[in-house]
Each structure stands twice: as structure tokens, then as C-alpha cells.
């Protein structure tokens, strides 16, 4: 069981949270100007890194708020949490 720290409620069991996938995928401002490739890239393509991943979580069975985390996809260690809309902490592997 992972222990995940909600920025509002503190550390809770993983089973209280739901996963929201890769963070910082912004919807293009002018979709009509995009080519099919660009639109397909926005909708479907993902970074899917082996290592640090900036991702979204929701405290579904708690405060029900969304936040971001930086997690290693091999060890599951989470090194940083930050709020939606905040600037992501540096990905320096520390």
C-alpha cells in the first residue's frame, strides 16, 4: 500500500485516492487550428517515462480535491506534491 500525502489532509492510504494520469496536458487554446496529428497527439500520446513522472491524483475518499505528485514509476517513491496550477518542482532526480 502506498502512502500518499494529500496537500490538504496529510498522509493517507493509497486506497483513498484515484489516479488521474500524466499532469500538465493543457487543452490547446485553438483546436480548430490544429492538424489531425497535433490534435491526436494532445488526446492520446503520453510521455510514459520510466523514472520520475509528474501525475495527477484525486483524494476521492477524502477531501475530493485534485493535486499533482512527482513519483518514480519504478520504485513508486514520491518526492514532491504540489497543487493544481502550481509550477512543478524541478525534475533534478534528487
Amino acid at each position: 500500500m502506498l502512502e500518499i500525502e494529500c496537500p490538504w489532509c496529510g498522509a493517507c492510504d493509497q486506497s483513498e485516492f484515484s489516479y488521474g494520469g500524466e499532469a500538465h496536458i493543457a487543452r490547446p487554446k485553438t483546436p480548430a487550428d490544429l492538424s489531425d496529428q497535433e490534435w491526436g497527439d494532445y488526446l492520446f500520446n503520453r510521455e510514459n517515462p520510466k523514472g520520475w513522472h509528474r501525475e495527477q491524483w484525486c483524494h476521492t475518499a477524502g477531501c475530493r480535491r485534485w493535486f499533482n505528485a512527482v513519483r518514480d514509476t519504478v520504485t513508486c517513491r514520491i518526492k514532491a506534491y504540489y497543487r493544481m496550477g502550481a509550477v512543478p518542482p524541478e525534475e533534478d532526480g534528487r
Binding site: M1, L2, Q14, S15, S18, Y19, G21, E22, D36, Q37, W39, G40, D41, L43, F44, N45, R46, E47, N48, P49, K50, H53, E55, R71, T73, V74, T75, C76
Partner: protein
């Protein structure tokens, strides 16, 4: 050496110490016509069909660990072709037909056992959906049979038929479905490919790609540079990593899926059964262990091990379907890294880089696809264009709006 009953008898005289190596392990050559990355079932099958169907024998399979050590050796070995959509069903049915003759074409016992796959349903609407799928299967030349509760009670008497929340109303059965021995599939394809001149190179990780004027030139590996006319990627959960070496982004996420095996018990489950109200499936291996699994852990992962909340959830689903499971002890569990596409269907075809071909996005279901996938991928590599059977699996379907939505639930990377 050809395997036969006589050979077993002969080798017994020397206490089975004189069997030759199943495949040779040559040093890599400086270059090949075709290099396959990934020595799982799909990569090895591709190499075999390149050599046997297309006469292309200057081929290498590069594997970073040992062959079959990826998902091929970690899966729950269910083989079936019970799909609904036109893009899927003909491909999986062709794969199942190849399975039916595989032991003869490879001269290797892959322990293919057509013991039937039964999908249980628990509501009228679920039954209607299954009937529709069964009819689609029949129209594509596959086999399907609707079973009512009375028939099910004869074969699976221990199901919780009167479960208050999810009563078992019946099932959709594919009698030709079943299981096969996963390791033997990798070894059988490796041996047959090796005999046709394919180089199987283990402990050789691809670390980079050299691309010249938009075309693949070769691969950097932990055993040096290897030149290649064409490259086929068949690396399952590592597809995004390999693609990124060519500057490509893929419509998939890597997730961990777990499998579980119980202690050996007397014959109990002589078919494959899947629960329709939760996610749980079970069969029994020839050694007697119950082999079962269920949902993904639910977040991007390259860890080949899972987490306990999912284990608990899977056991609970199993108990809801088959309460007698509660008396059985689990002895082993592990995880594999799944290449989950955004529409739950695989990708087999060309990429924007000339000479670079992709086979991936297998989600939960790539083991059954092994022979079919190798067969169409070999065709695609040899001819430079997809076969009719994998035409729908092209990578650019995601930008062309032609996704294959088998489950009818829209794009999300947790389908299969």
C-alpha cells in the same frame, strides 16, 4: 534435432544428458537485414515467420534479459478469440487457428489445451451484449456457445449462482479457447527460428537508434552497434522508451498487472472462467495450481511487481464468484509491465521513421495473439505494408479518428 517419441526413448539411454541446446547463442554480426528488438513471444514469432514464410533469414532478435522473461513468461496464458469488432475478431481468430497447428509447425510441445473459456454474465443486459459478441464471433468463423444456468451448474457447480448482488445467469463459452504453456511458446519459437538461421542474442539491450535521412540505420546496444535494414520493435511495456529513442511519442501508458498462483490442488477448474461482475479470471495449471488475476494496479508503473490493495481486490472478486476459493492458499504472485493503449487494441504497423516498425500496445491480451502477431508483423516487415488482418491496427489510427473501441467506453489506458 527433431523432437519425437523415438528421440525421447533414445535420449533416455544417456539419461537425457545429450539433448542439444534448444537454440545457439551466437555473437552478434555487424549488421542484419532485419533486427527484432525484444525476445518475447511476439519478437521470436516474428523472426520465425520472417524466416519460414518470407525467406528472410539474415535476422537477429535482441533481448535485454533472457528470452521469455518479460510478459510472455509472466502471463496467465489464456488463449481465445472472443472479440466483437471487425478490426479485432478476424485477427484473433487467425491467431487461434495458428495456435491449433503450432506444435506441428514448431515441432515443439507448447501444451496448447483447448479446454474452453467461459465468460459469466449476471444481468439481462450483459447477456444481450454477450449474445451480440457471440454472434459476431460466429459470423467471423469462430466458435461460440451460449450456456444457461443449468448447463453451467453441471460444469462449474461451485459458483455462487444465487449471489444476492450478482447472480450467475449463464455464460458465453468459446470451446476452442483455452491455455498454453507460456515459456514453451518462447522456447518453441526460438528453437524453430534458430534452426532457420535466425540469431537469438540475449543480454543485449538496445540503448539508442541511429536514424539517417529519416530512415533507420542501426541500433546502439550494450554489445555494440548493430546495423539494420529494418527494425521491428516488440518490447511490450517498454514500447514508449524504445519509440522515444526515435523521437516518437506513443498513445500508451505502461501499467503493472499482477498474476497469482495457489498451492496445487486436485482438479477443480477444467476450463477458463471469467467473472462478469468484477474483474477476475481463473484456470488450473497442469501442476494443479489455480492461476488467476484481475485488475491493473491503476497507475503508471515499470515495476515488475504489484501492490497489495489490488491483490486484496482480486481475491475478493474471486471469493464473490467462487466462495470455495477461500480455503486455498496463494503461494506466488508477480507483476508484468503492460503496454496499455488508449483504445485497448494493439498497434502493429509502420511508424513515421522509414524502416522502423512497431508491434506493441498489447494490454492484457497479447499472449493469445503471439502467433498471429508474429505472422502479420513478419508480413508487414517483409512487404513494407500491413496485411489485411492488421490493417486496422495502424499507429496513425489515433490521429485519423479510427480508434478500435472494442468495449465502447472511449479512450482510457486501462482497457484490454
Amino acid at each position: 534435432m527433431k523432437h519425437s517419441a523415438l528421440q525421447i526413448f533414445r535420449q533416455a539411454w544417456s539419461s537425457h544428458r545429450k539433448w542439444p541446446r534448444t537454440w545457439s547463442s551466437p555473437e552478434p554480426k555487424p549488421a542484419y537485414d532485419v533486427v527484432i528488438v525484444g525476445g518475447g513471444g511476439h519478437g521470436l514469432a516474428t523472426a520465425f515467420y520472417l524466416a519460414s514464410e518470407h525467406g528472410i533469414r539474415n535476422v537477429a532478435v535482441l533481448e535485454k534479459g533472457w528470452i521469455g522473461g518479460g510478459n510472455t513468461g509472466r502471463n496467465t496464458t489464456i488463449v481465445r478469440s472472443n472479440y466483437l469488432l471487425d478490426g479485432n475478431e478476424p485477427f484473433y481468430e487467425w491467431s487461434l487457428k495458428l495456435w491449433e497447428g503450432l506444435e506441428q509447425s514448431l515441432n515443439y510441445n507448447v501444451m496448447m489445451s483447448q479446454r474452453g473459456v467461459i465468460n459469466l454474465f449476471h444481468s439481462d443486459s450483459q447477456r444481450d451484449g454477450f449474445i451480440r459478441r457471440g454472434n459476431a464471433m460466429l459470423m467471423h468463423g469462430a466458435d461460440a456457445k451460449l450456456m444457461d444456468r443449468d448447463e453451467l451448474e453441471k460444469v462449474l457447480p461451485y459458483l455462487d449462482f444465487d449471489n444476492a448482488r450478482f447472480p450467475v445467469l449463464g455464460g458465453l463459452c468459446q470451446p476452442r479457447g483455452g491455455t498454453a504453456r507460456h515459456d514453451a511458446v518462447a522456447w518453441g519459437f526460438a528453437r524453430a527460428a534458430d534452426q532457420l538461421g535466425v540469431d537469438i542474442i540475449q543480454n543485449c539491450e538496445v540503448t539508442g537508434m541511429r536514424i539517417k535521412d529519416g530512415a533507420i540505420d542501426g541500433l546502439d546496444t550494450t554489445r555494440g552497434f548493430i546495423g539494420a535494414g529494418k527494425v521491428g520493435l516488440a518490447v511490450a511495456g517498454n514500447s514508449s522508451r524504445l519509440a522515444s529513442m526515435a523521437g516518437l511519442r506513443l498513445p500508451l501508458e505502461s501499467h503493472v498487472l499482477q498474476a497469482f498462483v495457489s498451492e496445487s490442488i486436485k482438479p477443480l477448474v477444467d476450463t477458463v472462467v471469467t467473472f462478469g461482475a468484477g474483474h477476475f479470471y481463473v484456470s488450473q495449471s497442469d501442476k494443479g495450481g489455480l492461476v488467476f488475476g484481475g485488475d491493473l494496479d491503476g497507475y503508471n508503473s515499470y515495476a515488475q511487481r504489484g501492490n497489495l490493495p489490488t491483490a486484496e481486490h482480486i481475491m475478493e472478486s474471486g471469493m464473490a464468484m467462487m466462495p470455495c476459493l477461500g480455503r486455498v492458499r496463494v503461494v506466488r504472485h508477480w507483476g508484468g509491465v503492460m503496454d496499455m493503449t488508449m483504445d485497448g487494441s494493439p498497434i502493429i504497423g509502420l511508424t513515421p521513421v522509414t524502416g522502423l516498425y512497431l508491434n506493441g500496445g498489447w494490454c492484457y491480451g497479447g499472449f493469445k495473439a503471439t502467433p498471429g502477431s508474429g505472422w502479420v508483423f513478419a508480413y508487414t516487415l517483409a512487404r513494407g505494408e500491413p496485411h489485411r488482418l492488421n490493417a486496422a491496427y495502424r499507429l496513425d489510427r489515433f490521429s485519423a479518428g479510427r480508434i478500435i473501441d472494442e468495449k465502447g467506453v472511449g479512450p482510457q489506458p486501462n482497457l484490454h
